[in-house]
Symmetry: D2
Subunit: 485 residues, 4 copies
C-alpha cells in the first residue's frame, strides 16, 4: 500500500490515462511505453492486460511508476500476445488507503469469453448503479465506479462483447473514454459529450488507442484521428477499424482544463497543439492584465508556455527565476518532521542572484487552494524581489469536477470563497490576475470567445455549469450553482 | 548492487557532492536536505555520518537517491547528534559493479578518536600511494582513491586530526574539496588550485560546508563566503571557524565546466551566478555564430539558460521544441530489449505541432560522444523541421578530465577525432557551432578572455593543458598534449 | 508470486486451515496465532478479515508464512475489531502460478451488508456451478472453487446472511468446513459427511472456531466440542452459539488421513488424540508386520509416533537414525542446478555413526510417489546399514482425493500401478509393509475394523470408494473404481 | 539490519561455523551447502568468498539464512572459481545492532596478493591487540575481534601468506578454528588447545575443511580426519595437504558443550558420535537420578537423544509430550505486544491428551537463565500433569564462556546464584537433577570421569576453570573463580 503524498502540490489532477494496441508482436511492451508517456495523467498505479492465443489473458497491476514496474524482461514476459491494453491512475482524494484491487484494467469472464476494460473519466450515477447491481446479486471487488461497467456487461442479454458494452454504457451517466479488449478485438468509446480525450493511431500493422498523441510519438505511431464524442470503434487485426455511434447525439463539450494543465504540451487535441494554446493564453493574459516589471518567470514546469507567451506579448524578458530539483519524487515513506515541513522547498528553489531587487511576474497555470502560491511568494520575497505579480493561465477555479478529475471539496477552493482582490491580499502579492473565461476560449481556438448559450467546452470548474447532472453527488447533498446561488 | 544505466545520456558527470553541518540539533536531517539539493552532482549513492555524545559515530550508506533513503524517521533516528557530514557520488565509468563499501564518507578510528571524510575530486597519484600503503601494512576496504587519505592520516605522527589531515593531504596530488569531521569539529579543505567548489554557510548557530550554494538555500542558510583554494577551515561550536593555508600557494584554477554544466543554475560560484554565466554564453554564442531561423529551442534541461540568452541576443523567438518526460528515472533493472533501444525517446519528445516546417536552432551545453545529439537531430527532422542548427554552449570537449569528472576515454570523445566540420557532417545537421574558448571565458567573467600564459580556470577538457600532471594515468600510458602532438 | 517448490517432498497435502473468533478485543491477533498453529495445513498463503464498528471490514491476504506476515504491529493495526476470521492455504498442484486474488477469505458485499468466508475442503460440482453463475451474470475474481459459495449467496432470495449461506450450501456438493463472518456474527458449517474437521472453543468472553484443537491451545482457549457433520452454528457476542442442522442427515465419513498425517499430533479429533492414534498404528504395524532388526527409526518428523509405537510393541530400540535440518524452508527462488538436485539431502541427513552395520526399520507415514522413499533408502545404505525395512503407517495410497487434499494424478501414485512386492523391489529395500485398512481402523478407534457396508471414515484414497461422486472430475473423464475395474 | 529476537530461547549459542573447499568446479556452491548444514552454529548472517583466475576474489555477505541468500543462480554466479570459503555467525549478545561489515569472511589485500579468513572462536586479548594496531596506523572496519588477525597479517614481515598467518596467530590468545584462503591455497588452523572443532574431508579431487562432519555428508565428502589442536594445514590442488604445528604444544581441551548441545547429533567429533554421547548422557542421568514416573519426554528438539537414553535405562516409556511448531522462525520485525508475550508458546505446545494425569520426566540439555524451563513447566501443569520432574543433560551452567559462545552475564545464569534445591523451588517442579561433571565425562568417553589435575575437556562454563586467561575481560573487571571465591 503506497503512502499518501504528505506534500501539498496544490494542483487539480487528471485521474487516468488509457492506452491499447492490437496487431503487433509483444503488444504489452508498446502499452508500457505508451503508459510511460501518459504517466502525467496518473502516477499512483498502473496495470496492463494482454491476451495470447496459447496463454489466454494475463494481467499485471502495480503501484508506482510505469518505468519502475513495466520495464523488466521477466515481468513483461508474463504479458505475451498481440493485443494489450493498459491504464495509469491517480488516487482520488477522499478514498481510504489505496488497494491493488482498485487498479485497472478490470477483467470479467463472460460466457462468451473474457474482456478487460480501462476507463478514464467518472460515472456520475455510479452509486445508484452499484446499489442496483448488488441488489441483483453482483459482487463488487473494488471501490471503483468503473467496475459497474463490467457488471452491467455481465448481465447484458446481448450475444457479443461490443454489444454488451453498448448496452452497459447506455445505463452510464458521466464522462468516459474507454479502451477495452476481448481475445481478439480492441474497443474504444468516448461518451457523447467527449469530455475526456481519446485518439486513434497506427504503427506498422497495428492500431493504437491512446488518451493523448504524445503516447503515439513514443512508439513511433502515426496520429490517424481523434475518436469522436459518442463514437465506438471496434478494432481487430482481421477487420481493421469499425465505427458506430451508439448513443443519442449531443454537442461536444471537451474538458478545457486538458488544454490548461492536464495534457502534455507536446500533445495535439482536437487538431490544436496544447503548447500553442498555452502560449496563446500567455499572450491573452499579457493583453488583459499587463504590468510593468523586469522579468517574466514561469512557475515550473506547467507555467512555462504561458510565461513564454506573456514575455513575447509584453516584451518583458523571460527568465528562470525558480529552479526545479529534478530528483524530487512524489511520495515519502514515514518522512521525518523536517521533511514533512519542507513542502515546496524540496522541489523548487529561487534563483536568488537573478531575482534580487527585481520586479517579477510569476506565471502559473492555476490557483487551487493557494497554499503553494503563498509559499512561492514567500520564497521570492525572501530572495529580495522588489515586487511580485501573479498571472494565472486559467480563470478562478470555483467548482469541483465530477468527470474524472481529483478536486478538493468546494470549500477548500480558494476562488470559491474569495474574490480576486481578497485572494491577492490573502496571497500577499503586489497584483494577482486570472485570465478571463472568454480569453481562455479565444486562446483555445474560439475567436469569439465562449458561446454562453451553448459553450464549446466543459468549463464547469470555472463556471459551475455542469453539462451532466452529478446525480450521485446531488443525492449526497451537493448544491449546484442554481441551487447554491 | 544497482544496475548500470543502459541509456547513453552522453554527458560528462560530476562525480561527487559534499555537505556538512555542525552546531544544530539533528544535524543529519540538514545533511539529508543538503545532499538532496546536491543530487545532480551524484545520483548513484549517498552516505551520512553523524556523531552524538551518547551514541558515538553512526553511519548510513546507501545506493539510490537521497530522497528514497534519507527521509524516513526510522532511518534518520539512527543518525543522532549535532554534527554530521554527507556525500553523494556518481559511479566512475571504468569500475566493476558498484559496492557499498566504495560509498563515502569513509571512516577511520585513530588512537585519538574517529574521523570521517567526504571527498569531491580525484587524487592523481592514488595508485602510487595505495601501493606504498599496502606495502607498509594498511588494509584497503574499497577501490576508491579517496580511501588513501584516511590511511595516510592513520599513519601520521601528528597528535590531532586536523594536523594529521594536513600531513596526509601534503602527500596527495590532484583535486580535492573535502568535508571531514571528528567528534566535535568539522573540517573543510580545498586543494591549492581550488578545482572543485566548496562554500561556507551559516544557519542559526550552525556552520555549513557545501559544494554549492543551492544546498544552503534549501536549509535556509546564509552564504558566508567560498572556501579559498588551498584553505583549510576547522569549525566547532565552541571556537567557530579557524582558517589556515597549509599548502604552498598557487594561482587558482577553478573548473570552468562547473559553470557550463555541473553546477545548478541557482548556485553562485566565486561571486558569479551560474544561471547568468550560462545565459551570457548564449549571448556570446549568438554573436559568434548567428544564423537565420524561426525558433531557438533548448535541449532540456541543461541548454535552457543559454537558449534564453541566444534568443534575447538574436531576437529569434524562444520555444519549447523538445519536451522532457518528468517520470524518467536513471536506471532500469533487467530492461526489455525494446526499452533498451528506446534511449533518449523515453526521456524526450519533440513538440511536433510546433516544429513542423520551421528552421530550428537547438542549444545544448556540450557534445561528448555525439550519440544523443544525433538522436535528437533525427527526432527533430522526423517531426518535419525545415532546418536544424546546433549551437553548443561550450568549446569542443577534446580531453578527458582527471580531477573528479567522469569522462569517456579520449578516443570516444567526438571532438578528439573530428574537426568541427566533420562533426557537423557526422551529426547530419545544417550547421554546428561551438562557443570559442575566449567567448566562454568572457561569459564567465573574464572581459579579455583567456589569459594564455596563466589561464584563470582549469579548462583541460577543452585545451588539454592539465594544471596537475595526471601521474597515475601517465604511468598507465596516457599521452598528454605535448606528448600527443 | 511465490516460486513453486522444486523439491519433491512426496506427501499428500491438506489444502487449508480455517480459524475465527468473535467477542474479544483485537480479534485478528488471535486469528494470526491460530493460523500460525494451523500452518501445517497450508503454507503457501494466508489471509485475515476483521470487522470493526468504525472501520468496517478490513482484509489482508499475503503469500508466505503467517509468522512472516501477520506478526507486525503496523500490519495488525489495519485489522481492528472484535470479530475476525482467517485462512491458510496450500497451492493446488495443477494450477498456474499463484495469484493473490485466489487467497481466502473471500469477501462479498450484499444488500444487507458484507460477509467473508474461509473454506476448507473442495466442491466437487464447482465447474458446473461456475458455468451456471457466469451464464447468469456473475463475475468471478479468482480461479478458486470456493468463490462459487459467495456468488450463490449473492443471488439467494433470503433476507439474512446465515440463511443465504444455507441456500448456497444446499447447491454445493463435496466437502466443506467453513468459517464465515458478517459484521457481528461468526458462522461455522460442516458438510453432512463431516469430511474435514472443525472444532468449537471458548476463551474468556470469546468464541472460537478452528480446524484443529492445537490452535485453541496456542491462545489458551478451552475445547468445547467438535462441530457436528451437517451442523451450522451462528455465533454472536449477544446471543452466543445457535445451532441448526440445515442439510439432509447422513452418516458421517470423517477423513481418516487426518489421523494418519494431516492433523498435528497434539490435536484431538472426534475425542481421539491424534498422537495416540498414530502410536497405536505403530503398535498394530509391529503386530501385522514384525521383522528382526537392531533399530526402529522414524522418517522425520511425521513417522515419529508410529515408530515409537512400533518400538514399544516389538521391543526393538527406538533411535534417531535420520536427522532433520531445522533451517530448511519450503521454497527457493531461482535455485542453482546443484541445489535443485540435492532434494531430500538438504533436509535430512543419516546419523552415519549410529546406522553403520545395523539392521534398520524405517517407519514412515505414507508412500505417495515413492521418490523420497528411494532417496532415503539410498542414504541409509550409503551410510552402511546392513538391512533396510520400510514399515508404512497407512495402507497403499491408490486413489486421488477430491475433498480438499492435494494428490498427484492417479498414474503417479506408486500404489496405483504396483503391488506391494513390486513396490518393495522398486524401492530396493529388504522388506516393505503397509498397515492393513482394518489395522488402521482399529488404531483409529474401531475395535472391529472397517465396516465394509458402511465405513466409519472416508478412506477413498485407499479404497477408491468415494462417498460423494466427484462429478466435475467424472465430466473430465476420471474413472471411478467401478468404472476402472 | 535484522531485528533482534524478542523471544527468550534461553540457550547458549555457538557463535560461528566455518567451511572451505578447494579443487572443485564452482566451489562456492559446495560452500553454500556446507554452510546450510552448519546453520545451527550461526543463524544471523553468512558470507562466502571465492577466487577465480579470471575474476579474482569475489565476496557476498548477507544477513539471514544460507538457504535464503546463497541458493539463487544469479547470486551464485557472482562467486565463480575452484576455491571458496564461508562462514555463518550468531550475533553476540552485548553488541549494538548488527552491521554487514562485521560479517565474515574478512578480506585483506597484501602486497603479495589477497587473503580471506573465516574464524570460529574468540580472541581473548583482542582489545589489547586492537589498541596496539590502531596506535600503529591500522584502520579497523568492523567491531569484530577476528579482524585483528588480518591486520596482524598485513604487518607481518614474512613473505608468504601462510607464514604471515603463523606470525599473526602467535600473537593471538584464545580459541580459534580458522579456515582461510589465498588465490590458490586453503589454510586450516586450530588453536593449541583445540577448543573448537575443525575436520578435514575429501570429495572427488577436492579437499574440504569444516566445523563438523554433518557438512561433509551433505556434499557427499568423506571424513578424512580431524585437524589436530595446534595444527596448521595448507592445502592446494597441486600439492595436496601440507601439515605443520607452528605453536608450542599443549594438552588438548576440546569444548565439552559441543557434545552437549552445539554440534549436530549426526556429527562425529574426535571419533565420537555426538548422538551416542547424548544418548549415553541420558543413560548416566537415569542411573544418577532415577525417579518413578509414567513418561519420559524430551524438550524438543535438543533433549531428544538424552531422553531416549533415559527411557532405555529406566524402562519408563518414551513419548512426545511436547510438540514443536515447524513453522517458527527466529525473528519477528516489530511484533505486536501479543506476539511478544507468547514466547515459547509460539514454538511449543503440550500434547494435552497424552500428558493429562501423568507423572512426567522432562529431559532438557541445559538450564541457562531458567526462563524457558519455567514456561514449559507451566504449560505441562496447565495440561494436567500429575508430577513434573526435570532431568538436565549437563551440569549447572555457572560461568560465562569466552571462547566463542554467546553466554549471558554471570549474574543472569540461574546456577551462578542458586543451589540445585533453590533452582528446583524457583522452577516449581517436583524434582530437578543435573548430570554430574563426572557423569558427563563418562558419557563423553572418559570411563574414569574427569581428570581433576588435567581435565580432558574445556568445561569452564561448569567448573569456572579457564584454560586460557580471559585477559580482556579481566581488564574490564571480570573476576575468575579463584578471585571470586
Amino acid at each position: 500500500m503506497p503512502p499518501a503524498n504528505p506534500f501539498d502540490d496544490d494542483k487539480l489532477h487528471e485521474e487516468c490515462g488509457v492506452f491499447g494496441i492490437v496487431g503487433v508482436a509483444d503488444a504489452a511492451n508498446f502499452v508500457a511505453l505508451g503508459l510511460h508517456a501518459l504517466q502525467h495523467r496518473g502516477q499512483e498505479a498502473g496495470g496492463i492486460v494482454s491476451h495470447d492465443a496459447d496463454e489466454g489473458f494475463n494481467s499485471v497491476r502495480r503501484f508506482g511508476y510505469v518505468r519502475d514496474n513495466f520495464t523488466s524482461q521477466s515481468l513483461m514476459q508474463t504479458l505475451p500476445g498481440p493485443i494489450a491494453i493498459g491504464h495509469v491512475r491517480y488516487s482520488t482524494a477522499g478514498s481510504k488507503a489505496a488497494v491493488i484491487r482498485d487498479v485497472q484494467p478490470f477483467f470479467g469472464e463472460f460466457s462468451m469469453g473474457g474482456a478487460a476494460i480501462a476507463h478514464n473519466g467518472n460515472i456520475t450515477n455510479a452509486n445508484a448503479l452499484r446499489r442496483e447491481l448488488i441488489e441483483r446479486g453482483s459482487i463488487f471487488q473494488s471501490s471503483s465506479d468503473s467496475e459497474c461497467i463490467i457488471h452491467l456487461m455481465a448481465r447484458s442479454l446481448q450475444r457479443n462483447i461490443p454489444e454488451r458494452m453498448e448496452d452497459a454504457l447506455r445505463r452510464v451517466e458521466g464522462a468516459f473514454s474507454i479502451v477495452a479488449m476481448t481475445r481478439t478485438k480492441m474497443i474504444g468509446v468516448r461518451d457523447p459529450l467527449g469530455v475526456r480525450p481519446l485518439v486513434l493511431g497506427k504503427v506498422a500493422d497495428g492500431w493504437v488507442l491512446s488518451s493523448e498523441t504524445c503516447a503515439l510519438d513514443i512508439i513511433g505511431a502515426e496520429h490517424v484521428r481523434d475518436i469522436e464524442p459518442g463514437e465506438m470503434v471496434v478494432i481487430s487485426e482481421k477487420d481493421g477499424v469499425e465505427s458506430t455511434f451508439p448513443f443519442r447525439p449531443r454537442k461536444s463539450r471537451f474538458c478545457i482544463f486538458e488544454h490548461v494543465y492536464f495534457s502534455r504540451p507536446d500533445s495535439v487535441i482536437g487538431g490544436r497543439s496544447v503548447y500553442e494554446t498555452r502560449r496563446q493564453i500567455g499572450v491573452e493574459l499579457a493583453k488583459e492584465a499587463p504590468v510593468e516589471a523586469d522579468l517574466v518567470c514561469p512557475v515550473p514546469d506547467s507555467g512555462t508556455p504561458a510565461a513564454i507567451g506573456f514575455s513575447q506579448e509584453s516584451g518583458i524578458p523571460y527568465a528562470m527565476g525558480i529552479i526545479r530539483n529534478q530528483y524530487m519524487g512524489r511520495t515519502f515513506i514515514e518522512p521525518t518532521e523536517q521533511i514533512r515541513n519542507m513542502g515546496v522547498r524540496l522541489k523548487l528553489n529561487v534563483n536568488r542572484a537573478l531575482i534580487k531587487g527585481k520586479r517579477v511576474i510569476l506565471v502559473d497555470d492555476s490557483v487551487v487552494r493557494g497554499t503553494t502560491s503563498r509559499k512561492i511568494k514567500d520564497m521570492i520575497l525572501d530572495a529580495g524581489a522588489a515586487e511580485v505579480h501573479f498571472r494565472i493561465a486559467s480563470p478562478p477555479t470555483r467548482w469541483p469536477c465530477f468527470y474524472g478529475v481529483d478536486t478538493p471539496e468546494r470549500e477548500k477552493l480558494l476562488a470559491a470563497t474569495m474574490t480576486e482582490d481578497e485572494m491577492c491580499e490573502h496571497l500577499g502579492v503586489d497584483s494577482l490576475r486570472f485570465i478571463s473565461l472568454n480569453g481562455l476560449y479565444r486562446a483555445a481556438g474560439a475567436p469569439d470567445g465562449r458561446d454562453t448559450d451553448s459553450p464549446q467546452y466543459c468549463d464547469a470548474c470555472f463556471s459551475g455549469e455542469y453539462p451532466v447532472a452529478p446525480s450521485d453527488m446531488i443525492e449526497k447533498g451537493f448544491e449546484t450553482k442554481t441551487a447554491a446561488e
